[in-house]
């Protein structure tokens, strides 16, 4: 019994209610939600220390006899995830407060953002702590519902379009989850994970395999594992920057966490290694090929997000302690940098007016701080040493190599290739968005524009013939932009994509030169945290290794839940 365990869920829920009631006092609302998340960070850190030193911390809610109630368990893995997610959500919330999005967001209901965000945080925390499947389902619903609201905030045309797909896909996966719960309950008579771990062993193999596959499919949709990943790149980029950041950082990882927990605790004897390895390989390769093809930075990052889920699945698929440790470390790394990248991208969008590659340029000179803030996590994502992405990948590759089967080696090759292609994708972004001048970007756009618009004056004194088209791509001195993308952006011209490119904005003096400190500081903080991950990589990896050992041993978790010995 540890009274701290429910607090990461309770505090945000209570905070959500309070902020909803305080909707008319935005200042109080902001400080309250920041304080709540700050509190969650502290509690999560304490829980992590306790779980690391004394074993899993458990709480039975409701004091029911005979283990009928809801159990919350904070073991090393859960506490670690809790701490990282709390840090990340705190940064995102600070960022959105800095952005003032709760007030600036056109047409959005003003007071809704903070309560919804807190419900999302509570849902994520509950998913990490859930000790039974039904509670896991409820926490998924909590975070999904909050995400529906956040994704369609303001109800603009693009968000409704993208939100429809997102909502429907997730509703289907929730339904699938319910079906698997019904099946599991019919077969075992319990949904408590610890009881299931014992009773599933007694089931015939085919029944437990069916339950496993049902749960796996459910979580694979949430985690965006190929071939269940197509909803993600379409829906995430349309949301406001901080929302995309927190979605990209946390929501898919909750699915990965659920798979990890289920595979190690419930089905240790049926790792399904081959199937999962194939899924990991395809997720990596197809995701990154999608990223290479994109020319909007947000979409590019969404595809790399899908692609890098493949690494996480690789570690799970191996079913070994080293694989699990690698996945755990990689999750921590990936949550941090993916969120950091999207936050920085929000700043880029604010500075340059767009994230479509052909509209922007010259950011390296015009906004050097942003350039640095983008460059570090981008290289980290690509796995360049000494960043944590490199360490995580090496850990996973070592685990795959220890496994030794041919498919695992193929995964090592595929992982290295994915890493290279990630580098290519971010380097392309870097070259186009940060190195070429805004004028070059403008010329490229203008040259294409002149084919469309006879009145469009070519820029005098510049040889627009240097811009030429080949195989559907527009080549300029500064880079290559896909032709269709230019057409698309001009045709759409909706509220998310302003008509004017960066150069025009600069000419008109309407670019926002000032990045508010309230936005810069959280983004910079997350980037710093991602760099610090390499500094503390040794102890952190050791912690991940201990967490993985716990997971594969199962003993500490089971004894702590079933017998109530928690220290």
């Amino acid at each position: 019994m540890n009274a701290l365990v429910p607090l990461p869920v309770l505090l945000p829920i209570l905070g959500a209610g309070a902020t909803l009631a305080l909707g008319r006092h935005p200042h109080v609302q902001r400080w309250l939600s920041l304080a709540v998340l700050g509190g969650v960070v502290v509690i999560a850190a304490v829980l992590l220390v306790q779980a690391d030193q004394h074993g899993p911390q458990t709480v039975w809610i409701g004091a029911w006899p005979e283990r009928l109630g809801i159990v919350l368990v904070a073991d090393r893995l859960a506490a670690l995830m809790l701490l990282v997610s709390a840090l990340v959500t705190l940064a995102v919330l600070a960022y959105s407060v800095g952005q003032g999005m709760t007030e600036d967001e056109e047409g959005a209901p003003l007071s809704v953002y903070h309560p919804t965000f807190l419900v999302l945080v509570a849902g994520v925390a509950n998913a990490f702590l859930a000790g039974d499947l039904f509670n896991l389902f409820v926490s998924f619903e909590m975070l999904l519902f909050a995400s529906y609201v956040l994704l369609t905030l303001g109800g603009t045309a693009t968000r409704i379009r993208a939100g429809t797909i997102y909502v429907l896909v997730n509703l289907l996966s929730s339904t699938l989850f319910l079906i698997s719960l019904a099946v599991t309950y019919a077969a075992t008579g319990t949904l408590t994970l610890a009881d299931l771990a014992v009773r599933l062993d007694e089931l015939p193999d085919h029944v437990s395999l069916m339950i496993q596959l049902l749960l796996l499919t459910t979580f694979a949709i949430k985690a965006a594992i190929f071939p269940l990943s197509f909803w993600l790149p379409d829906s995430y980029p349309t949301a406001p920057a901080p929302v995309t950041a927190v979605f990209a950082g946390l929501l898919t990882k909750v699915g990965v966490y659920a798979i990890l927990r289920m595979q190690t605790l419930l089905f240790p004897d049926s790792p399904l290694t081959d199937m999962l390895l194939w899924a990991a390989l395809l997720t990596m390769i197809i995701g990154i090929l999608g990223a290479v093809a994109q020319s909007d930075i947000k979409r590019m990052l969404s595809f790399t997000l899908v692609s890098h889920i493949g690494y996480l699945v690789l570690g799970i698929a191996l079913g070994s302690q080293s694989g699990t440790a690698g996945t755990t470390f990689y999750v921590v790394h990936h949550i941090t940098i993916q969120t950091a990248l999207f936050l920085v991208l929000g700043l880029v969008e604010r500075r340059a007016g767009s994230t479509a590659l052909m509209r922007i340029g010259g950011l390296a000179r015009l906004a050097p701080l942003l350039a640095v803030l983008f460059f570090i996590p981008a290289m980290n994502l690509a796995g360049i040493p000494p960043f944590s992405g490199f360490i995580g990948k090496v850990g996973l590759f070592q685990a795959a190599q220890a496994d030794g089967r041919a498919l695992a080696w193929a995964l090592v090759a595929g992982g290295a290739l994915t890493s290279l292609l990630t580098l290519y994708a971010v380097a392309k972004t870097w070259a186009v968005a940060f190195w070429r001048t805004p004028l070059e970007a403008h010329e490229a756009l203008e040259a294409i524009g002149s084919t469309d618009d006879p009145d469009g004056e070519p820029v005098p004194g510049h040889d627009t013939r240097a811009v030429h088209e080949h195989r559907g791509h527009v080549h300029t001195a500064g880079g290559v932009v896909s032709r269709a993308d230019i057409e698309e952006a001009r045709r759409l011209g909706d509220d998310d994509m302003p008509e004017r490119d960066f150069y025009t904005l600069i000419e008109a003096g309407e670019d926002s030169r000032h990045s508010p400190r309230g936005m810069l500081a959280p983004a910079a903080g997350l980037v710093t945290m991602s760099v610090l991950l390499s500094v503390v990589a040794g102890p952190l990896y050791a912690l991940c290794d201990r967490a993985a050992a716990d997971l594969h041993d199962r003993g500490p978790y089971l004894s702590s839940v079933l017998t109530g010995e928690d220290r």
Partner: protein
């Protein structure tokens, strides 16, 4: 877990089947009805999972606790029903908003996917345009002239809508287009 109520199973299965059929429709309101049916089917499935029906599961009501039905699935079904209710409300709101914005509530294609598909078509036409003048799958020149900028760069497409041989999008004579001339040169240089 020996007796299974066959009626429940059949009703649940048919609800699920009809629901899946409706979810595959384009219109969001039909999808919503489908989701509600699936939700109800799953709730019935939970009742099946709970085993045979018994007396009300109230402590102290029945001295013989063996005769009461399993309360846990019922609690779960209640939760699921509440969640389905909220979901229904949300999807309805979204369908209404979609109707406000577009005049219909159809689930729409991913814009960016369409771009990528068009890009692939452009790739093919620029490489092999001389060799073929037929439509490619996904080539939308015959369907939607406003969206296929490069379907038909020289206006020679036999299925094209514009008899004047002009770029269907802008109405400019394609031959006077410097960029396209440039592109043609590039292709010539390559081959």
């Amino acid at each position: 877990m020996t007796d299974v109520n066959l009626t429940l199973v059949v009703v649940s299965a048919s609800l699920l089947g009809s629901g899946v059929y409706l979810v595959l429709e384009r219109s969001l309101s039909r999808v919503l009805v489908g989701l509600v049916m699936i939700g109800n089917g799953v709730s019935l499935g939970f009742l099946v999972a709970g085993g045979r029906a018994g007396s009300a599961p109230i402590v102290g009501e029945d001295a013989d606790s063996a005769g009461i039905s399993d309360p846990l699935p019922q609690a779960m079904v209640l939760t699921a029903i509440v969640i389905t209710l909220a979901t229904t409300a949300f999807v309805l709101a979204m369908a209404y908003r979609s109707w406000q914005l577009y005049g219909h509530d159809d689930v729409q294609d991913d814009v960016e996917d369409a771009t990528v598909r068009r890009l692939a078509t452009i790739d093919v036409t620029s490489e092999a345009y001389a060799a073929t003048t037929s439509d490619f799958p996904g080539d939308d020149s015959s369907g939607d002239p406003g969206q296929g900028p490069d379907d038909d760069p020289h206006g020679k497409d036999p299925h094209g809508k514009d008899p004047l041989g002009r770029d269907p999008r802008t109405g400019d004579p394609a031959e006077s287009d410097p960029l396209r001339a440039d592109a043609a040169e590039t292709r010539g240089a390559d081959s």
